[in-house]
Amino acid sequence: MHLDLDQLDRDGALRETAAGVPGETRKDFLLGTLAGGGAALAALVLAEPGKAASKTDVDILNYALTLEYLQAAFYTEAERRGALRTPLAKETTRVLGAVERAHVRALRDALGAAAVAKPFFDFGGVTEDEDAFIKTAVAFEDLGTAAYKGQAYRIDSPALLAAAISIHSVEARHAAWIRYLAGAPPASAAFDEPKSMPEVRKLVASTGFIAQKPSTQSKERPRFTG
């Protein structure tokens, strides 16, 4: 049976606790589980990322993955928090979330052990207020389109380029869709402009949405009741 790390590791439970086990890195932990007979798991996790993908391609895929993590987490949290009022907004969030989560899976699968870890997000209430949510979703989808556009031509592998180009036009659809919902022009210019990696990183950083993971681990000696 093909074991999917994501199914075993819903919401990152495994990854988080693996980091907390004394004396073991994540890699050691994963290798350790092989002894227990997870052969199919080994095949997935130890696969070379993209089968001899170039460094450029790996970097671009990880860059795309970070943006997809961001979008997926944003829509997932909005759906879970249930603060959206209108049926259209709810339906859009459901569909967009499902697609972005599929993008995350695809990129993680391709990158294997080379995939960047999911960041810790703090959406600061934006996912819990319909107006703020929709405005931010517009910005995210426009940004995602511009980001893919900025990198597609740099991709070395023709197969990865085909995939990236095909996701790029999906992001553009999302942008138009959410703009339509927001009452903004779905396509306001004849040509869409790309954005460079530094530009995109700076914009994402300016949102403050990517935060440091809370420190919930300590080497303090326990002083519990005992």
Partner: protein
């Protein structure tokens, strides 16, 4: 995909049938101009295997949310800055980790966003601005102090079960709804075993240094398990606590009965 092409083609041709005389001449074939082997090759297969988009699991209790505390605030009985104070949340735990709380209900918008939370020792409303980002966990720990078992459930079922030691009748393990607040490792203490989880549960007895919180940890007396042996903490054998540490992230709700 082939079906979609066919449908689109049929739709296009149905729509176009019938002249309105605006341009004379028979229709010409653009495809006919392409040589038998098109020098413009077909697009390659995608280098990414993108799975079918899937909905979130719909069970409301499938996932718990926790958030770090960014600012010490009063917990209120109602989502209002003038609501009765029922507790307080601080930014740190006695173990000097960032304090976290469980988000236990829907956000209310009332002059700012308010979140219903479970903290150590209290349940109440806090302003959204006092909390950091939400993190979801799919696990839940069930502690049965009469059957002396700890069971970890996840969305895919039971993933861990182990015998435990619990508090004596003089210092019982509290019952109720709590959550894992932190995890301690790499300390030197055979008494607590290799890993200790701090929970939001407090002993019913008072005067504990460091607040009297109940932990879940290993032991240097495994032969006492199962049994009523502790001052409130939930003890398990060291191999069990290590296995639990691989499966249970911080933020996991803990139900003790």
């Amino acid at each position: 995909m082939v079906g979609l092409v066919g449908v689109v083609g049929v739709v296009l041709s149905l729509v176009a049938r019938g002249e309105d005389g605006e341009a004379a001449g028979r229709s010409v074939s653009l495809a006919a101009a392409i040589p038998a082997t098109d020098p413009l090759g077909p697009p390659p297969r995608h280098g990414l295997a993108v799975p079918r988009p899937r909905a979130l699991p719909t069970r409301a209790d499938a996932v718990a949310l926790w958030a770090p505390v960014l600012h010490s605030v009063a917990l209120r009985e109602t989502p209002s800055a003038s609501g009765r104070v029922v507790g307080r949340v601080t930014v740190s735990t006695p173990e000097r980790t960032e304090n976290i709380v469980l988000v236990i209900g829907a956000t209310r918008a009332r002059g700012g966003l308010w979140i219903p939370i479970r903290a150590a020792g209290a349940v109440g409303w806090a302003p959204r601005t006092a909390l950091g980002g939400y993190e979801a966990v799919a696990t839940r720990l069930l502690v049965d102090t009469r059957a002396f078992t700890a069971t970890l459930r996840r969305t895919d079922g039971v993933v861990f079960r182990a015998p435990i030691g619990v508090g004596t009748s003089a210092a019982p393990t509290p019952t109720g709804s709590f959550f894992v607040r932190n995890v301690l490792t790499r300390y030197r203490s055979a008494f607590y075993g290799p890993v200790a989880f701090g929970t939001s549960a407090r002993s019913t007895l008072t005067d504990w240094p460091a607040g009297g919180f109940v932990g879940i940890h290993g032991t240097n007396r495994p032969e006492l398990i199962p049994g009523r042996i502790s001052h409130g903490c939930i003890r398990m054998r060291n191999e069990d606590i290590l296995a639990l540490a691989r499966l249970m992230p911080v933020g996991t709700p803990v139900e003790i009965m």
